[in-house]
């Protein structure tokens, strides 16, 4: 019987290592492609999906302001529960979204604020001691206390910041995953953004996908011809060459798109069609969000 590490031709199953730069390139393309799933969620039948993007954008801004203004953990938890309820109504993949929100909340909320929980940076009631020094020290304007540990106020602040980050991310994910990019762009008209800016935004988003696909295909084409790991200098040379190739390709594509715009009547300004009036469902939902938001502000 052949050894599991040998393949059917009898060669030792030693994989080809892909250099870090290439792996990064591949991951970048993969990451951008994941955003395709946004469209799939946005097309599902759910409560938030049925609302007009303008209401959702206003909801996003209003609730992020509320999350930032609240100063007690109880209110943040209540807001978090409200967002969870809306996510459930919208039939989103709760586990996937909260895994992302918790990971980012851990990095940009908990870990960033964790040092401030120590009494080295902020005075307070120490509830857990890490180090007991013989005496307090004073270095220039900086004072090191005799007992170094985590304070009650510091923990409260860290938890508060983490909850704010998680809530803000959950609200953003709720809106992003229930609204197609096209609708978000059109909803930005509410803020009187000029049409040429919206067209440029759309073009940038679309070509990001197209070129991410090119980058990934270039990477796979190379991988299919690779028998051993390239020396780092050659790998860097290859990456530099491909960056130049994609840059040239984007330039020629930009020229073609401009021609396509010209032939459809573009001269010095551009227009996109106005969005329709808001229906009764949107007015009701908007009013409910406003009332709930005011309630959160009041409590």
């Amino acid at each position: 019987m052949s050894h599991p590490s040998q393949n059917f031709l009898g060669f030792q199953g030693k994989g080809v290592k892909t250099p870090f730069l290439e792996r990064g390139l591949h991951r970048l393309a993969e990451m951008i492609k994941i955003a395709y799933s946004q469209w799939e969620f946005a097309s599902r039948e759910g409560f938030f999906q049925k609302l007009d993007a303008r209401i959702k954008i206003l909801f996003l801004i209003f609730f992020i302001v509320i999350v930032s203004l609240k100063k007690d953990i109880g209110s943040e938890l209540l807001i978090g529960m409200f967002i969870l309820f809306l996510m459930l109504l919208s039939r989103l993949d709760i586990l996937c979204l909260y895994r992302r929100a918790l990971l980012l909340g851990l990095i940009f909320g908990f870990l960033m604020a964790l040092p401030s929980a120590l009494n080295l940076f902020r005075e307070g009631e120490v509830i857990f001691t890490f180090l007991q020094l013989s005496k307090p020290y004073s270095l220039w304007f900086y004072a090191i206390p005799e007992r170094i540990g985590v304070t009650k106020e510091g923990i409260y602040g860290t938890v508060m910041l983490t909850l704010r980050v998680i809530n803000s991310l959950s609200i953003t994910f709720l809106v992003l995953y229930t609204t197609s990019f096209a609708d978000i762009v059109k909803a930005l008209k509410v803020f009187r953004l000029p049409d040429p800016f919206l067209i440029i935004l759309t073009l940038a988003y679309k070509y990001l996908f197209l070129f991410a696909r090119t980058v990934e295909e270039v990477h796979l084409a190379k991988k299919s011809r690779l028998l051993k790991e390239l020396p780092p200098n050659l790998a860097r040379q290859w990456i530099a060459g491909r960056i130049a190739f994609v840059f040239r390709k984007t330039q020629s594509k930009a020229e073609e798109v401009f021609k396509a715009m010209l032939c459809r009547g573009f001269s010095d300004s551009t227009k996109i069609h106005k969005t329709g009036k808001l229906g009764q469902r949107n007015w009701v939902a908007g009013t409910v969000f406003l009332l709930v938001g005011c309630l959160f502000l009041w409590i």
């Binding site: 395709y36 469209w39 197609s180 990019f181 096209a182 609708d183 762009v185 059109k186 919206l198 067209i199 759309t202 073009l203 679309k206 996908f209 197209l210 594509k253 073609e256 798109v257 021609k259 396509a260 715009m261 010209l262 032939c263 459809r264 009547g265 573009f266 001269s267 551009t270 227009k271 996109i272 069609h273 106005k274």
Partner: protein
């Protein structure tokens, strides 16, 4: 029929050095089906872009309905609007042409730039969507469409401008047979409705199906011959010379033989 497009001795070079078109003279009549055929790199796309006033020749002249199309004349808003409304161009790469957020925005873009009222633009968009059977794609972002759907939307985005002349660059390239068939029927219907069709292609079966007037471009970027589709497609020497067909050796069981081959007309064998 009235001569709608006239090209006189057009020459074009890329980067002032590489020749793309050499001494091209053509006349296209209103309501005609006109095909520019040639191998890859003969200048078909360049020629269509010159006819659409997107690029300008190094020498030679282009006339549309008797008006000379120049950089200067296209600066005149009235003429620009008249010209863009009259001549629509469907690009070979649909991704280039689709730059709006959704399919509906795409169909409305042209009419809105031409300052057609929003109501009329909307009516046109819905009519075209019905005709192309793409109503269900109305709200879809264009990057979420298949190749065939993209091509239909690209054609629709031009048809909403209701142009008299349609320039189509390799319209059936890369499409599945069903979509190709749909496009051929659509082109014939549009021509029947009075539109002038000018297409650049190397697909000889398409030329035969449309029974177009044909201009053959040589690899020297010149017009080798102009004539009716039946006449051009019978001329094996000409098609061999311009690399649209080739000699081909293959086996049938034990027998190996050589014959002229194209994926359209000339794949014939002298035996059973």
């Amino acid at each position: 029929m009235e001569k709608i497009i006239r090209l006189e001795n057009i020459c074009y070079h890329y980067h002032d050095t590489i020749s793309a078109l050499a001494d091209i003279s053509l006349e296209i009549k209103g309501g005609e089906r006109f095909a520019i055929i040639g191998a890859n790199g003969t200048g078909k796309t360049t020629l269509l872009q010159i006819i659409n006033g997107l690029i300008f020749p190094d020498s030679g002249r282009l006339f549309f309905k008797g008006n000379e199309v120049l950089k200067q004349t296209l600066k005149d808003r009235g003429f620009l609007r008249f010209f863009r409304q009259s001549v629509g161009y469907v690009f070979q790469d649909s991704d280039v042409q689709l730059f709006c957020p959704t399919v509906l925005d795409e169909l409305l873009y042209g009419p809105l730039q031409l300052e057609i009222s929003e109501k009329e633009a909307m009516d046109r968009a819905f009519e075209i969507m019905k005709m192309l059977k793409i109503e269900h794609l109305k709200e879809r972002p264009t990057y979420m469409l298949s190749g065939g759907e993209k091509k239909k939307v690209a054609i629709g985005s031009i048809l909403t401008m209701n142009p008299e002349v349609l320039l189509l660059d390799e319209p059936t390239n890369g499409l599945d047979p069903k979509t190709q068939c749909f496009l051929v029927e659509l082109m014939l219907a549009l021509n029947e409705a009075g539109k002038t069709l000018v297409l650049a292609t190397h697909d000889l079966s398409l030329v035969d199906e449309l029974q177009a007037t044909v201009a053959v471009l040589s690899e020297e970027h010149r017009i080798e011959k102009t004539g009716r589709a039946t006449e051009i497609l019978k001329d094996e020497d000409l098609l061999l010379r311009v690399n649209l067909i080739h000699e081909h050796i293959h086996r049938h069981g034990e027998m190996t033989h050589r014959h002229i081959h194209s994926h359209y007309l000339f794949h014939r064998h002298d035996h059973d």
